[in-house]
Amino acid sequence: MKHRFAAPATAGALALLVGACGGSNTPSSGSTITFAAPVSQTGAFGQAEGLYTLQGYKFCVETLNSKGGISFGGQSHQVSLVTQDDQSVAATSAQIVDQFNDQGRKLILSPYGSAGTTAVAPVVERNGQVMVDANGADTAIFSHGYKNTFAVLSPSSSYVTAIIDALAALNPAPKTVAIIAANDGFSQHAAQTGVSEAQAKGMTVLPSATAYTGSTKVGANVTDVSSALIAIKPTNPDVIIISAHLNEAVAAIKQASELGAKPKLGFAATVAPPTPAFISALGKSSEGVIGSTQWVPEIAASDNIFGNAHQFLTNFTNRFGWSTNQYPYQAADAAAGCEALALAIEKAGSADPAAVRTALVGLKADTFYGHIEFDSTGMNTTKPMYVVQVQQSAFVTIYPSNLATKQAVWPAVS
């Protein structure tokens, strides 16, 4: 079923939202609005991606409250955040969201990752909750006709394709690529669309175009991908792309060196390279690795809550002690998801989930994260992906060229 679009009034909503900041028209305090999120604090994602997501949510709520909260009905409403550890288990995420519903918590922020979000979406639908998805990019989530799930981030189909586009713009451009893909919906779909894009750009995919479903497929979140590398080794590709999460990417780069399976030009990976944990896990071996990312601070984007993208970076990294050279983009995803929910509540003039859902359908917002607007399935397809490279332990934006802060170091392997 398709969403019905309401008339957009983003500017008005933003003005209302920040109108509570001061002046003689300061509204009185209303009831507190609670956002609830199952977030991985232990398990495979607990050490990195889940932590970044949690920090993004916290930063958003703190910032919202410091600006006066969400304003509607002549009152200013503070926001509280309730989180519970899903232990990086998708089924647990779903159980937690069910418990949230029992507690009357209807406004949900997604867990980290596509698997968790996939499990939560039908629960949200059944319970009449509404969820803004900040970190689940698998397009399969949006193929079931769910009406109550909205994703601020670019879909999985854009992760490897962005890498391919960036590689095609490099000199020398690779002629052959091999793609290692983890056995999860997000990684497999990202690899599938990446193969099509590589072929469209004239690249040959090795050992075969379907290898990501067979010999170069690895378990999700494993730390041994030697079987895929042994399959790739005889083909000697220009670039090895890892469509997976942190553990698999770290393992692939370490083990490629051990097995003599290093690519001729360099490595690229989805998700992992633009995360601080990637650099801490690999040390010098992380240098030169290319990665696709949902957000970079160089984009010309701003809003009245977080300021512009650079201000978000500065304030977020100060708050949680990160370096501005190694910022977790997942936190920007999370803050943007939280912001979208706040904007929708303001627009709806209510925290009622049905009204918030209707407001999300028609939301068109320009934020520090870029443009947020949902298509008929609930995906934000208007926002592009970006590509960074690890250079001297810093994330350097290299694609698109108009945002690049430095040239790519290429070839990246010696």
Binding site: T42, G43, A44, G46, Q47, A48, L51, N183, G214, S215, T216, K217, V218, G219, N221, V222, T223, D224, V225, S226, S227, A228, I230, A231, K233, P234, L246, N247, V250, A251, K254, S257, E258, L259, G260, A261, P276, A277, S280, A281, L282, G283, K284, S285
Partner: protein, 295 residues
């Protein structure tokens, strides 16, 4: 053929690394009848110690091994004397519970001190390899494999040719009789646990050198690997962990080549099940350990 040889070579050296993880676990299980669920936590503690010495003192991980081993031996000795010994006569489930709780305490402590980021010991050589024709053999894992063999042989010599080894063996077979012979069982148990902790620390150092580790996911995987390898190789034989580790590593590597990488665990477990059906005591385990006397 080249791919098969590469997979086999990798399986051997990876198996050696896994054997290094399992040898201490197998020793404690075989001698003390304690399934030590804190073994992975001890290995990761050793990994952090080696990482700290490398990052803050500049010590190469191989040079750090003696320091890590001594420190972990002392840590293990104290844990056994002060904690596990309190429940050594209790049913095995109580020791399981205790070591599981111990693991949680150690890992939460590590997380508090070091945070939960993945860490690695960055060396110029560990991730490099040398080529034998089309086969690459990684230096780091090869060193771990050689270390596992040396340690296993050394441990077997200690157990078979020294008074300490005989005391450990006697205590493992019949604690009451050993006491009657003047053996201080409590001290022997503490020494055994200390040795196992030292071996876990060495294994952790090697894992940090050839891979990465963190306090959340690494310990559980190491404990599980050690458990499976100990069962596969069999208890009561110092070479059990080595044989089990090598078979496990080769099965995973060849299995991943023949099917896909998602099947490696299933194949390794299938090898374990098949082995236990044919030889319930494990590949080279001794049946006497199931019928020993506890007093």
């Amino acid at each position: 053929m080249a791919q098969f040889l590469q997979a086999a070579a990798y399986g051997v050296v990876q198996g050696g690394l896994l054997a290094l993880v399992a040898v201490g676990f197998s020793l404690v299980w075989g001698v003390m009848n304690v399934v030590n669920f804190s073994h992975g936590a001890l290995a990761v503690t050793g990994a952090y110690l080696a990482w700290f010495l490398n990052v803050h003192v500049g010590l190469d991980p191989f040079l750090a091994i003696p320091i890590v081993a001594v420190a972990m031996f002392a840590f293990g000795y104290v844990i056994q004397r002060g904690l596990i010994n309190l429940v050594i006569n209790a049913p095995i489930f109580l020791t399981l519970l205790l070591t599981f709780g111990l693991s949680l305490v150690i890992l939460n402590g590590l997380q508090l001190v070091f945070k939960s980021d993945d860490r690695t010991i960055d060396t110029s050589y560990a991730s490099q390899s040398f080529a034998l024709g089309a086969v690459n053999v990684p230096y780091g894992r090869l060193a771990a494999c050689v270390l596992a063999i040396v340690i296993t042989v050394g441990l077997a010599l200690v157990m078979n040719r020294t008074r300490l080894g005989h005391a450990i063996g006697a205590t493992g077979m019949d604690r009451g009789a050993a006491r009657l012979m003047g053996i201080r069982a409590r001290h022997i148990y503490a020494v055994t646990f200390g040795i196992a902790a030292a071996l876990a620390g060495i294994a952790g150092t090697m894992i940090a050198t050839v891979g990465s580790f963190n306090p959340t996911t690494t310990p559980g995987q190491l404990t599980l690997d050690a458990f499976v390898i100990s069962v596969l190789g069999g208890l009561g034989n110092m070479y059990g962990a080595l044989v089990g580790g090598l078979v496990f590593g080769i099965a995973e590597s060849i299995g991943g080549l023949l099917l896909t990488g998602t099947w490696v665990n299933a194949i390794a477990m299938a090898v374990l099940i098949a082995t236990l059906i044919i030889r319930p005591t494990g590949l080279i385990g001794k049946a006497q350990y199931s019928g020993r006397v506890e007093v």
